[in-house]
Amino acid sequence: MPGTDILLDLDQVTRSFARCEALRGVSFQIRRGEVVALLGPNGSGKTTLLRILAGVLTATSGRVRVGGCNMATRSLEARRQTGYLPESNPLCPELRVTEYLKWRGQLHGLRGKQLAARLRETIERGGLADVSGQLISNLSHGFRQRVGLAACLLHEPAILLLDEPFAGLDPAQVVATRQWLAKAGETSTILYSTHMLADLETDCRRALILNAGRLVAFDTPQRIAGSFTRWHAELQTDEPTLAAALETMPGLTDTRLKPLEDGWTAISIRGGSQDLPAALEECARSRQWPLRHMRQTTRSFAEAYMRLTTLPPLVRNPAQRSKS
């Protein structure tokens, strides 16, 4: 499927190991040019997912398409289009930076003038010019991480898969790496795993959150945070009557009712929709129930992430819950 707009396409992907199920029915699509952050606690399946997309592992079941190629049948073709940086960032310490990058370029079929030109450009863009003649074993962690990234970018892949590219970097190096990735993101689709939530809203368009091998959210950080917004109000009616009335309102999720001592009932509804208060007011007006204390509580993306990754898996994904 050359020229396809969807570069990463997973459908009900499961990956089992001898003692655990690392991924359970993961499905998503990532389009050309997107920068997506892959989030989740340790052991949630992030590395397994990246290794499947890079061709290091195969899925136990489900379909994986990378760059339009089915990984089960055209893995080699798919791997030509990807650049993968493992979490351990394996390098060859006994080689010099240029020698290592040259070898990685040759593995991707670069030769002669093309290889020399790509080497020059990547070394320059990655700020490696000063250390290009040094042995990798003599480099600092930050520079080693840059060499790993440079090796991934050398063959100008359409898809970049990066496993914790900011791990162990100091703040200045994080900024420099971010700028480099932003530049790379102009031509490549990037999926990178990270534990750094603070800057996500500026770094990526969408965030993909895994927990215990399940996809629990895949949206913009703003929308994910927004889905945890709650509207609260109090109505002068009893709880069963209010519950019956709410059943006629479509699209309500995670609704909680609590009878108050003065005969009113407190209601709390999850959802960031701006139509919700109007719908609630209309519900109260049509039934002539007095309404008071209408207010909204919001959560930050970090709070939403914590909620998504600490709740039990069966209630984590609203979409999955509504299906079941």
Binding site: R51, E77, R79, P86, S88, P90, C92, E94, L107, H108
Partner: protein, 248 residues
């Protein structure tokens, strides 16, 4: 197959640019050189049956070197927990499992040949020190080294297969050492007179019996077929198993 050359070159770099390469080379040359010198001294004092090559390629030290060298050269080739994690880089690159296995094997075989090559100059050093080169049967020297190459080829293939199955390099080396020791001892297994069929099969596969022919200048095509066949079979199995690792 365009990636074979860079992968092979990388194997040589990984051996010669790390401490392991020079260390193995020095130990190998000391062991073979000392053995050769001791044997030459004995010959000088009391000539024995056969020539010096015959004695050198049949000495216990020669076999000890052979069964130790192959696991040492291949133990880290495909072991899963390699400290550098280089396998992950290779598995994600557009390289087939067959290319990886062939390159790793070619690298190990090249190092093996390069280690043995200096020992061919030992007769020259012997002559330089005043020894008699007439002690050498040059035809037997050539077939002897051909035997070293053939037996080494199949030993390295077995070592590579062990390195793929073991998670740790040390386990790969130990497994290779045990299996190769058993293989070398095939002809020493005591069998009753009724098991003639088994005995001839074991003799067909016995590297010591093959080498006994090679070191006296006899080139037995059955031995060549056995070692080339085993090498191809083991490399094929290694490539298939490596590809299957993605499914584990």
């Amino acid at each position: 197959m365009k990636t074979l050359f860079p992968l092979w070159k990388r194997e040589l770099q990984a051996f010669y640019l790390t401490a392991l390469g020079p260390l193995i080379t020095v130990f190998f040359l000391i062991a073979t050189g000392t053995t050769y010198w001791v044997l030459a001294s004995r010959y000088a004092q009391q000539p024995m049956g056969g020539d010096l090559t015959h004695a050198f390629f049949g000495s216990p030290v020669f076999w000890l070197i052979l069964v130790t060298l192959a696991p040492l050269l291949t133990m880290r080739s495909l072991a899963e927990q390699d400290p550098q994690g280089a396998m992950e880089t290779l598995m994600s690159a557009p390289v087939t499992a067959t290319e990886v296995v062939l390159a790793k094997y070619a690298g190990a075989f090249t190092v093996y040949i390069l280690l043995w090559a200096p020992t061919a100059t030992y007769p020259f050093w012997l002559w330089l020190c005043g020894g008699q080169v007439t002690m050498m049967d040059w035809g037997a020297v050539i077939t002897g080294y051909l035997g070293v190459a053939l037996i080494g080829a199949s030993f390295l293939a077995l070592g590579l297969f062990c390195s793929l199955l073991a998670r740790r390099q040390l386990v790969a080396a130990m497994a290779g050492l045990v299996l190769l020791s058993l293989w070398v001892s095939l002809d020493a297994i005591p069998l009753s007179a009724h098991a003639q069929g088994l005995k001839s099969t074991l003799a067909y596969l016995s590297p010591r019996l093959h080498m006994a022919d090679f070191r006296v200048g006899v080139m037995d095509s059955r031995a060549m077929v056995a070692h080339v066949g085993l090498t191809v079979f083991l490399l094929f199995s290694t490539a298939q198993t490596l590809e299957a690792r993605r499914w584990r």
